[in-house]
Amino acid sequence: MARRYENIIIFFAALLLGITLTIQFRTAQQGVGIITSDTVPQLNNELHNTKSEIESLRQQLADLRGRVENYERAMNEQGNVNEILQDQLETVRTLAGLTEVEGPGIEIVLNDSKWELTHGNDPNLLLVHDEDILTVVSELKAAGAEAIAINGQRIMFNSEIRCGGPTININSVRYAPPYTIAAIGEPNTLFGYMSSAEGGYLDLLEYYGLEVSIQQKESITIPAYVRSINLRHIKTDKEGE
């Protein structure tokens, strides 16, 4: 009798073991590579990104079609494409920040705190830092700002905003507070991002005692980038081929 019991127990145990093993292997197999808990959000991000790539490729395609038509028409009608080249040049120079631009937007002024420095307090808390300006600029970009300047210095693709003692270097030029940040874009959107109900970044700075002012403007002029940009380490893809 004891023997029977044992056999039955072993049988069930073996059955369970078999089932578990199978599940284990199948789970491991199904995952292409390793399925981690990050995979689903990661895939979701990639899906979103690829969809938005497709969207912008469609736009590019429409844009390119129009341009090819323009070139064809110009060749037929004028025999050259100089006018189109000139237009293109103006457009791309503007996108690169090489022209003075004008449009609606907002102006933000940041200044060091006027609070008295009480004994034992960290004076750093009362100053405008490079990180504050970096974040404000990034938020403005997220809100769709098309052109940004700080104290008249145009922000380019490679502009640094960096503390150098009591001053801040922007495009290798030194500036002292107050910092006036001008941005061209949809004024309401820009304003909303900077001072939103959920607590925009400027609200935070104000909370820490910095002097912050923000103003919507119908028209702002932002100067062109005037220094020369030396690209010594880039070889364009075409030369490489």
């Binding site: 145990a13 578990t20 093993l21 789970t27 689903v40 390119l64 609606p104």
Partner: protein, 234 residues
């Protein structure tokens, strides 16, 4: 003796069973289980489909671009004026981030050292990325991309929910910076004593920097146009 043998074997089987069960449960806990696996599979196959779609669109875009390039080149061949404009245009496109570029530089990979917490807390905040980019720019980077997103004058780096937006695309760690410039200067700028690399490591972010003889940085992938900023006629 017989009973002892039988007990031993039962004991062994139970041990194996226990181990398997534990493994199974841990698997389910760590990896989200069968449901999540299925969801991931669905997403993966959808992703495969739309990637094919994207690739074919890319081909067509390239076709049109090469036609435009032909027009520009043939114009430059017959006219000095057109040649000058075309060269200026190439340079402006480069600065605007509208061309693919290659050159010497570094790649910087920021990844989260697997935190002991069960849920993935975002250690790499957007402000850390802004700082790294800022240091690279200060060290003379001529072109930068983050996870293949070209950094142009309007590129934002912003926390949006559970991911970070860069050029309005969504990313989560790890973040890979590519920067073209002098490799030594770029690396030194990050590794400065008390600099950004040290700061990141302090916050539990691993920083790996690699000098490269040849890196490729893609152009800005979206249509770039200004609606509000208009050039001022002089």
């Amino acid at each position: 003796m017989k009973t002892f043998k039988a007990q031993m074997s039962i004991g062994l089987v139970c041990l194996a069973l226990g181990l398997m069960l534990t493994l199974q449960f841990r698997n389910v806990q760590n990896y989200g289980g069968i449901l999540s696996v299925q969801r991931a599979q669905e997403l993966a196959s959808e992703l495969k489909d739309i990637r094919t779609q994207r690739d074919s669109l890319q081909e067509r875009v390239k076709e049109y671009e090469s036609r435009i390039q032909e027009y520009e080149e043939s114009a430059a061949r017959v006219s000095v004026v057109a040649e000058g404009m075309r060269n200026d245009l190439e340079r402006a496109r480069l600065l605007a981030g509208l061309t693919d570029v290659e050159g010497t530089g570094i790649t910087v990979t920021l990844s989260e050292v697997q935190p002991e917490q069960e849920f993935n807390v975002f250690y790499i905040h957007y402000d850390k990325l802004l700082k790294v980019l800022n240091e690279l720019n200060a060290a003379g980077a001529e072109a930068v991309s983050i996870n293949e997103q070209r950094v142009i004058a309007t590129t934002e780096i912003r926390l949006a929910g559970s991911h970070i937006n860069i050029n309005y695309q969504r990313f989560a760690p790890p973040f890979v910076f590519k920067a073209i410039g002098d490799p030594q200067t770029l690396e030194a700028a990050l590794k400065l004593k008390g600099g950004i690399a040290e700061e990141l490591e302090y916050y539990g972010i691993s920083v790996s920097i690699k000098r490269e003889q040849e890196i490729f940085i893609p152009r800005y992938g979206k249509v770039l146009e200004f609606k509000y900023a208009k050039p001022v006629d002089k």
